[in-house]
C-alpha cells in the first residue's frame, strides 16, 4: 500500500516535470536527472491509460460519434502540426523576427492542444475506420511507389536542412586548418598549410619544412575539388560535408532495413537521421566526422556480410583451393575485399573507426555461443580473433603500435559518452533502455544481426569511457550513434508490438514528437553553433584600415583567412597557454609604430592577465565583449 502510494505520487510528479519539459513553460524546477523523471512519467502514462481504459473508451466513443467535434480535433491537429513545423523552421530559417512566426513559436497552447488532439486521433478511428493514422502509415510504406516518394521527401528534407544558408556562418575552430590544407593542396598538390596573406604555403623555420596537415586527407582532397568548381568560400568548404551528410540519410534506409527486416522501422530510422540536430550540425561543419558516418555504416554492413556469408570467387584459385577456403576460411571474399577497402578509407578519415576491429573479434565467440546452427563458422572466426588479439597484444607490448599513446590502462572515467551516445533520439535514459532491451532480446532470440551492432556500440562505449586517452567529445563517437539509432528503434518496436495498438501509438507518438520536436533535442539546438566568434565582422575594421607601411598585427590564434584581402602584413604571434609575457609584449610593442591587436574572447585564457589588462587600459577597443557580439577582441594602438 505504501509502495503503491509512493509510486502514484512519484508518477504524478513525473508527469508535472514531463509536462514542463514538453511545453517549455520554464518553471525552473531545481532538480537534476530530468530524463529519469520523464521516463517515469511515460511509464505512468501507460499505467494510467490501462487503469482508466474504460473511461477513455467511453470518451472516445462520444467523440468519434460526434462529427463536429472530430472535425474540430482534426483542425487542431493540422494547426498543431503547422505550429510544430514553423517553430522548428523558425530556428532553421532565421525568420524569428517575423511577427506571425514569433507569435506561433511563443504560444504554448497549440502545443498542448496538438498533443491532446493527436493522441485521440491516432488512437480512435472514426466510424468508417478511415482516420486510423497507423493504418494509413503502414499502407503508404508497404506500397513501393509511395514508399519511394516518402524516402525521397525525407532525403530532400534532410538535404534542405543541411544546405540551407550554408555559407552564412563563419569558418570556425578546427575548420581553419582543414581549409588551409585544402587550399594548399589546390595550389601545390600537397597538403601544406596555407598562408592566406602572402598567398603561399606556410614554411616553418623550426622544422625547416613546409607545415603539413594531411589528417583525413580524403576529406581535405574533396574540399580542394569543391574549391576548383565553386571557388574558396565558407559554403564551398562545407559542400563535401553536405554531400556525405545526405549520403548518410540515403544509406540508412537499406542498412536499417537489412538489420531490422522491417520497412516501417527503416523509414522511421531514416527520418530520425534526416532531422537529427547533431547530424545536421556535422553536415554543416568542414571537418571529417560526417564523412566517417556513412563510411562506417557501410563498413559495419560489409563486415557483417563478410563474416556471416560464404563466397569464394572463381578467380581466387582452383576448385580444390576454393573448397579449402570455403571450409577453413568461410568468408564472403567479395565483401572481405570491400571491407578492407572501406576500413582503409575509414582509417584515413579517422582512427576511431578502428573500434570495429576489436568489436568484431569480441563478437565471434559470442556468436559461437548464441548461433548454434553455425558453430563451425564461428569456431574458425573465434580462433582467428584470438590470433588477432595475440598479435595485437604482442605489437602493443613491444611498442610497435604507433597509436598506443591514445590508450590508458582504464584510468579514464569519461561518463559524458553515455549522453553523447544515447541522447538521441529518445533522450539518454529511454534510448539506452531501448538499446539494451534490443541487445538482450537479440541474445535470447539469437538475432546475431542486432548482437553484432550492439557489440560494436558497447565496445566503443567502454573503450571511450575507460581507455581512450583524449578529452570527451561527441564527434569521437558520432560514428557509433547511427548504430544506436538503428538498434534503439528496433528496441522500441520490440515493446510496441507486444502492446495493444492503443498503448503503442501513445508511446510512439509521445517519444517521436517530444524527443525529436517540441522538447528535448530540437533541430535548431545544434544548428550552426550559436555564439561562435565571427571573425569576418570583427576583422573587417582591420582589413579596411590596414596600412602595411605603418601597422603591425598582434594576433593570438589569428584567423588570417579573414585577412586574406591584405596582400602583406607584419604579424606578431601572441602564442598560447600564456607563454607570451608582458615583457615580450612591451618589447614587441616598442618596435611597432601602430597597429592592431586581436584575439578570440573565449580564448582569452591563452593570454596573461597582465597583457590583457595593459591592452585594455592603454588602447582603443573596437570589437569584443562590452561592444558587440562578434566574440573577437580587437584593439587599435598607436
Amino acid at each position: 500500500m505504501l509502495i503503491k502510494r509512493f509510486l502514484n505520487i512519484l508518477g504524478f510528479i513525473g508527469l508535472l516535470i514531463f509536462f514542463n519539459s514538453v511545453t517549455n513553460l520554464q518553471l525552473y524546477l531545481p532538480i537534476n536527472h530530468v530524463n529519469i523523471f520523464n521516463a517515469i512519467a511515460l511509464l505512468y502514462i501507460i499505467y494510467l491509460v490501462r487503469k482508466y481504459k474504460k473511461i477513455i473508451n467511453d470518451l472516445a466513443k462520444k467523440i468519434t460519434a460526434n462529427k463536429k467535434i472530430f472535425l474540430i480535433l482534426e483542425i487542431i491537429f493540422v494547426g498543431g502540426l503547422f505550429y510544430f513545423l514553423t517553430r522548428e523552421l523558425t530556428l532553421v530559417l532565421g525568420t524569428s523576427n517575423n511577427t506571425i512566426l514569433k507569435l506561433v513559436s511563443y504560444t504554448k497552447i497549440p502545443a498542448i492542444l496538438f498533443i491532446t488532439s493527436v493522441l485521440l486521433l491516432f488512437i480512435f478511428p472514426d466510424k468508417k475506420n478511415t482516420h486510423n493514422y497507423l493504418s494509413i502509415f503502414k499502407s503508404i510504406i508497404s506500397n513501393k511507389k509511395t514508399r519511394l516518394l516518402v524516402l525521397i521527401s525525407i532525403i530532400t528534407l534532410g538535404f534542405g536542412f543541411r544546405v540551407y544558408n550554408l555559407g552564412t556562418s563563419d569558418i570556425r575552430g578546427d575548420e581553419f586548418q582543414v581549409i588551409g590544407a585544402a587550399t594548399g593542396y589546390l595550389n601545390t598538390g600537397k597538403y601544406y598549410q596555407w598562408d592566406w596573406i602572402s598567398n603561399k604555403a606556410i614554411y616553418s623555420t623550426t622544422t625547416d619544412d613546409y607545415s603539413v596537415y594531411d589528417r583525413a586527407w580524403p576529406h581535405t582532397w574533396m574540399i580542394a575539388q569543391s574549391y576548383k568548381f565553386f571557388g574558396i568560400s565558407e559554403a564551398s568548404s562545407r559542400i563535401p560535408s553536405v554531400i556525405f551528410g545526405t549520403l548518410l540519410i540515403v544509406l540508412t534506409y537499406p542498412v536499417a532495413l537489412f538489420f531490422s527486416k522491417n520497412k516501417n522501422l527503416a523509414v522511421i530510422t531514416t527520418f530520425l537521421v534526416a532531422i537529427s540536430p547533431a547530424y545536421i550540425g556535422l553536415s554543416r561543419y568542414a571537418r571529417m566526422y560526417i564523412v566517417l558516418l556513412p563510411l562506417f555504416l557501410g563498413l559495419a554492413y560489409s563486415v557483417y556480410q563478410t563474416i556471416t556469408k560464404t563466397y569464394v570467387p572463381k578467380w581466387l584459385g582452383s576448385k580444390k583451393t576454393r573448397l579449402f577456403l570455403e571450409q577453413h576460411l568461410p568468408f564472403h571474399w567479395g565483401f572481405a575485399i570491400l571491407s578492407i577497402l572501406l576500413l582503409y578509407f575509414n582509417y584515413q578519415i579517422h582512427i576511431n573507426s578502428l573500434v570495429i576491429v576489436p568489436a568484431t573479434m569480441l563478437f565471434a565467440p559470442l556468436a559461437y555461443i548464441i548461433d548454434v546452427k553455425n558453430r563451425k563458422r564461428w569456431k574458425v572466426f573465434t580462433l582467428l580473433s584470438v590470433l588477432g588479439m595475440i598479435l595485437f597484444a604482442t605489437l602493443y607490448l613491444t611498442g610497435n603500435i604507433y597509436f598506443s599513446q591514445f590508450f590508458t590502462y582504464f584510468e579514464k572515467r569519461n561518463f559524458q559518452y553515455l549522453d553523447f551516445l544515447f541522447a538521441y533520439p529518445f533522450g539518454m535514459v529511454i534510448t539506452l533502455g531501448l538499446f539494451l532491451l534490443a541487445f538482450l532480446a537479440s541474445l535470447v532470440k539469437k538475432n546475431i544481426k542486432i548482437t553484432f551492432l550492439g557489440i560494436i556500440v558497447l565496445f566503443g562505449w567502454m573503450f571511450f569511457v575507460y581507455i581512450a586517452n583524449r578529452y570527451p567529445a561527441f564527434v569521437y563517437t558520432s560514428h557509433l550513434t547511427i548504430l544506436v539509432i538503428i538498434v534503439s528503434v528496433i528496441g522500441l518496436y520490440t515493446i510496441l508490438k507486444k502492446l495493444h495498438q492503443l498503448f503503442a501509438m501513445i508511446i510512439f507518438f509521445i517519444l517521436l514528437v517530444y524527443f525529436t520536436g517540441l522538447g528535448g533535442m530540437r533541430i535548431g539546438d545544434r544548428y550552426d553553433y550559436q555564439g561562435q566568434a565571427t571573425h569576418s565582422q570583427a576583422y573587417r575594421v582591420i582589413v579596411d584600415n590596414y596600412d602595411q607601411n605603418k601597422h603591425t598585427l598582434f594576433l593570438q590564434f589569428g584567423r588570417t583567412f579573414y585577412l586574406r584581402e591584405l596582400n602583406e602584413a607584419k604579424i606578431v604571434s601572441m602564442l598560447n597557454y600564456a607563454q607570451y609575457s608582458l615583457e615580450d609584449f612591451l618589447s614587441d610593442l616598442e618596435k611597432a609604430e601602430s597597429g592592431w591587436i586581436a584575439w578570440e574572447t573565449s580564448k582569452s585564457y591563452h593570454l596573461e592577465t597582465s597583457v590583457i589588462t595593459y591592452i585594455k587600459e592603454n588602447f582603443e577597443k573596437l570589437h569584443g565583449s562590452g561592444i558587440d557580439e562578434t566574440g573577437v577582441e580587437v584593439y587599435y594602438f598607436e
Binding site: L2, R5, F6, N8, I9, L10, G11, F12, I13, L16, Q26, L27, Y28, L29, P30, I31, N32, H33, T601, S602, S604, Y605, L607, T609, I612, T613, S625, G626
Partner: protein
C-alpha cells in the same frame, strides 16, 4: 455527473503532488537565498541534493494519511490547487529575480573602508567576472588598478588620481552592472 462529483474523482495523489511541490519549491527558494546570498555559506545549491530532497518528501508524504483528508474535502483540494499555481508563479518570479542578482557583482567584505593613494585594498565577494572579462573597480569616477583577481577576491590599488574624501566604491562588470549595495570608501591623503 455533477461538477462536485467530477472534482472528487480526480485522484488525490495529484493534490498530494501539488502539496509536495509547494513545500519543495518554497523550501528550495528560501534555502538558496539564505545560503548563497544572505549567509554566504555556499556559491550555489547542488541540484543532486535537491533531487534527493524531493524524493524524500515524496517518501514522507506516502506515510501521511493525506488521501483521507483530501478525499472528501473539495475546498481543501481547491485551496491546494490555487496555492500550487501561485507557488509556481512565485517561484518563476523568484528565479528571474535570483538570476538578475547574479548579473551584478556582490561584495561580501572589504579589508578596510579607507585608504591612501598607492595603497592596496582587498574585496571579497562573488560575480567578479571571468579571467578574460574581470570587473573594474571605481572610486567615484576614478578607475583603480586591479593588482590581483580571482573569481571571489580582488585586490586593487588606489591610484594617485583618486579624489580625496568619501567616494562611492563601485565594482562594475563587463555588462556595465555594478553591485547593488552602496559602499562608501574614504580616500585619505598621505601623512608626511
Amino acid at each position: 455527473m455533477k461538477r462536485n462529483e467530477w472534482w472528487k474523482k480526480i485522484p488525490s495523489e495529484l493534490f498530494v503532488s501539488f502539496l509536495i511541490l509547494i513545500i519543495f519549491l518554497l523550501s528550495f527558494d528560501l534555502f538558496q537565498y539564505l545560503t548563497t546570498e544572505f549567509w554566504w555559506i555556499q556559491d550555489s545549491v547542488n541540484y543532486n541534493h535537491t533531487t534527493i530532497f524531493l524524493l524524500f518528501l515524496i517518501f514522507l508524504f506516502s506515510f501521511l494519511p493525506i488521501k483521507k483528508w483530501l478525499n472528501k474535502n473539495t475546498k481543501l483540494r481547491c485551496l491546494i490547487t490555487v496555492l500550487f499555481f501561485l507557488t509556481l508563479l512565485g517561484h518563476q518570479k523568484y528565479t528571474n529575480f535570483y538570476k538578475e542578482l547574479q548579473q551584478h557583482p556582490k561584495i561580501k567584505s572589504i579589508s578596510k573602508d579607507w585608504g591612501v593613494p598607492w595603497s592596496w585594498v582587498k574585496i571579497s565577494g562573488k560575480n567578479f567576472g571571468e579571467k578574460w572579462e574581470p570587473v573594474m573597480v571605481y572610486l567615484g569616477e576614478t578607475e583603480t588598478i586591479i593588482k590581483k583577481w580571482t573569481p571571489k577576491e580582488i585586490v586593487f590599488e588606489i591610484t594617485a588620481e583618486a579624489t580625496l574624501g568619501e567616494q562611492r566604491l563601485r565594482v562594475v562588470n563587463s555588462k556595465d552592472n555594478e553591485q547593488l549595495k552602496e559602499l562608501i570608501f574614504e580616500v585619505k591623503p598621505h601623512v608626511n
